[in-house]
Amino acid sequence: MSQAGAMVNSPIAGPKLKVQHLGVVYERDGKSTPVLEDLNLDVSEGEFICVVGPSGCGKSTMLNAMGGFLAPTSGSVNIDGEVVTGPDRRRILVFQERGVFPWLTVEGNIGFGLSKLSRTERKERIAHYVQLVRLQGFENTYPSDLSGGMKQRLQVARALAVNPDILFLDEPFGALDSITRVIMRGELLRIWQTEKRTVIFVTHDIDEAVQLADRVVVLSSRPARIQDILTIDIAHPRNISSPRYLAIRDELLKQIGLAYEI
């Protein structure tokens, strides 16, 4: 379990993902609204990055630009030294809800991106990821009969099944109840540690960020700039009542401008 921390520090040639002077301006009715301004970020292979910031600040916009769903107004996003120009199956975006296809079963969803594989390979791959996200017994179930947490696990499985380098997660647990959310964090960490992918995880939940991330990117309010990047130097599994954890959590709350007491 402690390899995860070591992996981050392992030397690699260049950053996996490089965001340079990224800016996005929305044009509507002749009015232009700057959403992102001059974002710069290097992410190493296998790193788990959380992005936090005030709601509506442009976290999702940033993720969409990194995933190639949105063309930046200025600057660029590079992955493996290549400029991102559109969505690509090597980097999969996981949505908050409505991500899984309701007209496909669990098996159909996981196999969605695998049509180029042979039948037996596809079956094996599906079985592997059903196992990984613990949906055994639900292979032929439609999403409408799954709980919110199961749907999100299914979405993660569908994303991982195509063997992407990077997972972008856009508040994936935001629509779940707080108990399921905590369980899902554990599941995601377990999956991340076995699958070793680069993860960019947008959240509005400070605890989520401190529990999961190697580094937390704090965005300012709109137009969003990178306010700070905090390194979370606590090995997994993290003790959420340790002084170090609480100190980082407090620092993050302060960064976002929240008072200590309500």
């Binding site: 296809f101 007209w103 195509v162």
Partner: protein, 255 residues
């Protein structure tokens, strides 16, 4: 006290039977009013069956509805999906659609007869006109209502355009499309009766007009109405059963 438990299904049956009984009694109490009771309507239906007319007219009406509805579906659904996807095309064509849409298909009857004469073709044309615009609008709005996440997820997995259409676009619109088609089939069934009253010499609409003209056979008029209602119900039930297929049904359970 123990409650009397009855299964659910006899309730509508009992209700209809009691309505029929009321109808028969009311007609018997006023014999000088021209209104057939259920018994004479039933004997009218039997009479039509014995002459072989019932089956012939039902088949004739269904034949026209099938062609008119199928042609409208084949043309309007792909066109509507395309226009819904490419908003610019929709913006260009929308005023034209909105002008044609409020014109009742019945207003087309003289033109239909002028172009196609009295016969199957003109009633098929009228059904086509009546179904085309509702289906076009249904298909366009079905595309507009696809959640953006499905489209983005589809794009993310690097599908070719044709795979995107068959694996994301088509399954995403099918629930709304089926509901629209069911409602439109109801319209088609309304239009065929009206069209047959004027533009042809067979079918259930013709039966109603003919029964009245040929000697005030109101038992046959009402028999025709009953048959039209029953077939309309069957068509609706048929479409509903298609909507219930699990991989089609997703929207109602998801929204």
């Amino acid at each position: 006290m123990k409650e009397l438990k009855l299964p659910v299904w006899p309730r509508p049956v009992l209700f209809i039977l009691s309505l029929l009984a009321t109808w028969e009694i009311a007609v018997d109490l006023h014999p000088n009013q021209i209104m057939p009771g259920p018994i004479s309507v039933l004997s009218g239906i039997v009479e039509l069956l014995q002459h072989g007319l019932l089956l012939k007219y039902v088949v004739a009406s269904l034949f026209r509805v099938t062609w008119g509805f199928a042609l409208a579906t084949i043309l309007a659904v792909p066109l509507g999906l395309t226009l819904g996807w490419y908003r610019r095309g929709e913006l260009a064509l929308n005023p034209l659609v909105q002008i044609f849409r409020p014109i009742s298909p019945l207003a087309w009857i003289p033109i239909a007869i002028l172009w196609f004469g009295v016969g199957d073709l003109s009633s098929i044309f009228l059904i086509f006109v009546g179904c085309f615009f509702p289906l076009l609008l249904t298909a366009m709005s079905a595309v507009h209502n696809i959640p953006a996440d499905y489209i983005n997820a589809g794009r993310n997995f690097g599908l070719s355009s044709s795979a995107f259409v068959s694996r994301v676009l088509y399954p995403a619109v099918i629930p709304r499309l089926l509901i629209g088609m069911r409602i439109t089939l109801g319209i088609a069934w309304l239009v065929v009766v009206a069209a047959e009253m004027i533009a042809v010499n067979s079918g259930l609409g013709f039966l109603i007009v003919d029964a009245r003209n040929a000697g005030n056979r109101y038992d046959l008029v009402v028999a025709g109405m009953v048959i039209i209602g029953a077939i309309g119900l069957l068509l609706d039930m048929g479409m509903r059963s298609i909507e219930q297929i699990k991989s089609f049904r997703w929207s109602s359970s998801e929204d």
